[in-house]
């Protein structure tokens, strides 16, 4: 009933599923940790309570997000062994140390300081607490560095030697392994993506509360901060993405051919296919809407530059075209939509209508999840686009999987799907509920007691202070601490 091909496909689906689900959380928590560090820093610098309130508001959301990122991340660190044992044996000597560095320099840092960040403000004082926040934020960024280094090595392998037992062994320089050709581009593009993802979530939440009460100072502050990010960083991201694409053209041309839908070579200028239905059977794009020579202009900065197509690549090395083609268009489309919202916010600022333009706020709410979609689409482009290889050009996906029976992989896949949708679906719902409540003056901290009725934010009497004004006394005791 099952054969190895089924087991391989199921293992691929399982990896795609678990990694896609997982990446949603770090894409948010990398940016959110930095945002929290900025908020706490601004609070320490200016003494304005609004920053502390926002810090505590987003800290509760961060706690839930981070927990989901941790548990789904541990799954990933074992996926390599459970489902991709051949790959682990062969590539372990090269990528294993990078993953070990990720644990040593990032995971411990985040986890070690998280407890203090969540619960320790009153125990360690402001400065040490800020240090803890910085360490957590730094840990998330360092983690991105190492895991993207691993991924980049798999995309553009370098610095290795082949061992007699079929293993990839490190050559004389680890520098060459850590900093492969695609790594700088991937790192910049991914980390900016995480910041943008967070900015649009924060912006969406701010917009939601502005629609309900446009005088809400907390909502104004977060909406303004988020829209600055959108306006300033979205163009940078489009530029970084373009450079990343050119780098891919150089090192993984087949991926770009799939992104462009170029089955055929174009010796005198290739068109950009705006939309169409890739038909890999016939090796053409059906119903294509094309802009003549635009692809050559984008990729080669020359209208008539020749561009090779998939017809120059042996068929057994073709990536699946459809998913790559579509995911690329989703990602780019969202990128420009983000840019559009950022520019709109600049116009609103100039016209002094940033907090007073319901249509802008509604657009920001619609765009709130755009970062997640763009990030997942981007990973689909790069991961499906490098098929059929795990180590590009060297180790085929089919030769990477564990010697497992299809029912074992299928059963575990089913378990992951059920558990992930139930658990992370519930977690997402909790986060949305936290976001639904507006940040308050004297926003309570992470609550840790179940005695009595649930305390809603703002009930705890605290010292009086004006919104956004300096704190007159110590802030209200962290609820339940």
């Amino acid at each position: 009933m099952f054969d190895q091909a089924d087991a391989l496909l199921l293992a691929r689906i399982q990896f795609a599923f678990t990694v896609s689900f997982h990446f949603i959380f770090p894409a948010f928590s990398i940016g959110l940790a930095s945002y929290l560090a900025v908020l706490e820093g601004l609070w320490l610098k200016t003494g304005k309570g609004v920053y502390l309130d926002l810090f505590k508001y987003w800290l509760k959301i961060f706690a839930v997000t981070f927990a989901m990122g941790v548990v789904s991340g541990i799954v990933m660190s074992y996926q390599f062994g459970t489902n991709w044992a051949e790959f682990s044996d062969k590539a372990g000597p090269v990528i294993g140390p990078l993953l070990a560095y990720e644990v040593l320099t990032a995971f411990f840092l985040e986890a070690g300081f998280l407890g203090v960040m969540l619960f320790g403000l009153e125990r360690v004082g402001k400065k040490l607490h800020f240090l803890a926040t910085l360490m957590v934020a730094g840990g998330t960024a360092v983690s991105a560095f190492w895991i993207l280094s691993v991924n980049s090595w798999m995309q553009t392998p370098a610095g290795y030697e082949m061992g007699a037992n079929g293993q990839f062994l490190p050559g004389d320089s680890w520098w060459a392994i850590v900093f492969t050709a695609s790594f700088p581009y991937r790192l910049v593009h991914t980390v900016i993506a995480a910041y943008l993802t967070t900015a649009f979530v924060v912006g969406g939440v701010g917009a939601w509360h502005l629609l309900k009460d446009r005088a809400n100072q907390h909502a104004r502050t977060m909406f303004s901060m988020a829209m600055w990010m959108a306006a300033l960083v979205a163009p940078v991201q489009i530029f970084a993405g373009d450079l990343h694409g050119l780098n891919t053209l150089k090192h993984q041309p087949a991926k770009v051919m799939a992104m462009e839908g170029h089955y055929e070579s174009h010796p005198d200028g290739a068109p950009f296919i705006v939309a169409g239905i890739p038909n890999s059977k016939e090796q053409r794009v059906d119903y294509a809407i094309e802009i003549p020579k635009a692809s050559s202009l984008i990729l080669k900065h020359d209208l008539n530059a020749p561009l090779a197509g998939l017809d120059t690549i042996p068929p057994e090395n073709h990536p699946p075209v459809g998913p790559v083609f579509w995911a690329f268009r989703v990602m780019v489309g969202l990128g420009f939509a983000m840019l559009g919202l950022g520019l709109w916010s600049l116009v609103a600022r100039l016209r002094k209508r940033l907090y007073d333009w319901p249509l802008l706020h509604k657009a920001a709410i619609v765009m709130a999840p755009s970062g997640f979609l763009a990030v997942i689409a981007g990973w689909m482009v790069t991961e499906v686009g490098r098929q059929p290889f795990t180590v590009y050009g060297l180790l085929r996906t089919a030769q990477s999987a564990s010697p497992l029976d299809a029912p074992a992989v299928g059963a575990s896949l089913l378990a992951f799907v059920l558990v992930y949708f139930a658990v992370f679906g519930t977690g997402t719902w909790y986060i949305l509920r936290l976001m639904r409540g507006a940040p308050k003056v004297h926003e309570p901290g992470v609550r840790r007691t179940e005695k009595g009725p649930i305390r809603t934010a703002g009930i705890t009497p605290g010292p009086a202070r004006a919104v956004g004004g300096p704190i007159i006394e110590q802030p209200a005791k962290e609820d339940g601490e």
């Binding site: 789904s72 140390p97 644990v103 411990f108 840092l109 407890g115 062994l169 909790y430 179940e450 339940g480």
Partner: protein, 333 residues
């Protein structure tokens, strides 16, 4: 004299595994016994005693797994497929356990469910970890560089025994931790549970210790042949002494010592494991030298470990220090 990097790495991985077992062990142990604590203050105290540190504790599991991949990729590639359903069960158990720390505070209506998830997840994770250990000890079928058995080979009476032993041992760590960190009715309950957990742990540890040499003549030789026996015999001897102190301490209501003595029991268990396995990583098939990554990988990582591990231990210690003392019902005081 040349330094044997592979042996150093075996010790580093063993250290990571030990750190994980004892640190997440008490988290999981508290989870396993969670339903026996009264809803309200007792559960709050139990949960709050580990909430600030569980995440750091669990990171040692990632270091154990990631380190195994990095330092002994062949072992990683054989053991994980061989124990596939157990690993998946452990991971899913840890998913439920981990999110429950946050989710139980989000909605009072859902709290009973997340408390069950916390407990059930902890139990499944602990049982799976113990069974993984048993599955490695009882031997793994290998062909060339890959696992060659079926996906149910791990399920035997022996692995069930090691699984239960681990559950009992984690319960011991969890209860003695609570004895240290809590007060009032929570602590009184923890004392009662700790006594039972001690007896269960000793019983199951004894059963596993007697069963293991019967599994394979080689284990018999390792434990009972001269001159090994001179060293090996110290392990059960010390275990008996520590167990005596532990029972005495629980009777005398010592505060911190029961937990530290439980750590001692686990350390001896680790030593016993060393007697049984060294220098194999998959018994009788793959030694640490067969499985080792090349020296360049080992050196590169050793630099990282040398630079970061002291720092990690320092700030982990600091985080524990910040949350020292009795936990109280409303978080730390």
């Amino acid at each position: 004299m040349s330094v044997d990097l592979t042996a150093i790495w075996a010790f580093i991985i063993a250290f990571a595994v030990f750190a994980y077992v004892v640190m997440d062990g008490f988290d999981l142990g508290i989870g396993i016994l969670f339903p026996s604590f009264k809803v309200g203050e007792e559960r709050d105290q139990a949960m709050n005693s580990i909430a600030p540190v569980w995440d750091g504790n669990e990171t040692w599991l990632v270091l154990g797994g990631g380190g195994l991949l990095a330092a002994f990729p062949l072992a990683y590639a054989i053991i994980l497929p061989a124990t596939y359903p157990l690993i998946i069960a452990m991971l899913l158990g840890l998913v439920f356990r981990g999110v429950a720390f946050e989710f139980r505070w989000r909605d009072p209506g859902h709290r009973p469910f997340w408390d069950m998830a916390f407990s059930g997840g902890s139990l499944v994770a602990a049982l799976s970890q113990g069974m993984i250990l048993g599955a490695i000890l009882q031997g793994i079928e290998v062909d060339g560089r890959a696992y060659a058995g079926s996906w149910w080979d791990w399920l035997t009476p022996y692995t069930l025994l090691t699984g239960l032993g681990t559950v009992a041992g984690y319960a011991l760590l969890g209860t003695t931790w609570l004895v240290w960190k809590t007060e009032g009715s929570t602590q009184a309950h923890a004392y009662r549970l700790a006594l039972r957990a001690t007896l269960a742990t000793l019983l199951l540890l004894g059963a596993v210790s007697l069963y293991t040499p019967l599994l394979d003549a080689r284990y018999w030789e390792r434990w009972f042949a001269m001159p090994n026996v001179l060293f090996a015999a110290q392990v059960p001897l010390l275990t008996a002494i520590i167990a005596g102190f532990l029972l005495w301490g629980l009777k005398k209501k010592w505060q911190a010592a029961p937990f530290l003595l439980s750590l001692g029991l686990f350390l001896l268990g680790m030593a016993g494991l060393g007697v049984s396995m060294w220098p194999f990583v998959v018994p009788d098939v793959v030694t640490i030298w067969d499985a080792a990554a090349p020296p360049r990988s080992q050196v590169f990582m050793l630099i990282g470990v040398g630079l970061t591990l002291p720092l990690i231990l320092a700030y982990t210690g600091w985080a524990y220090w910040v949350f020292r003392g009795k936990v109280g019902s409303e978080g730390y005081h």
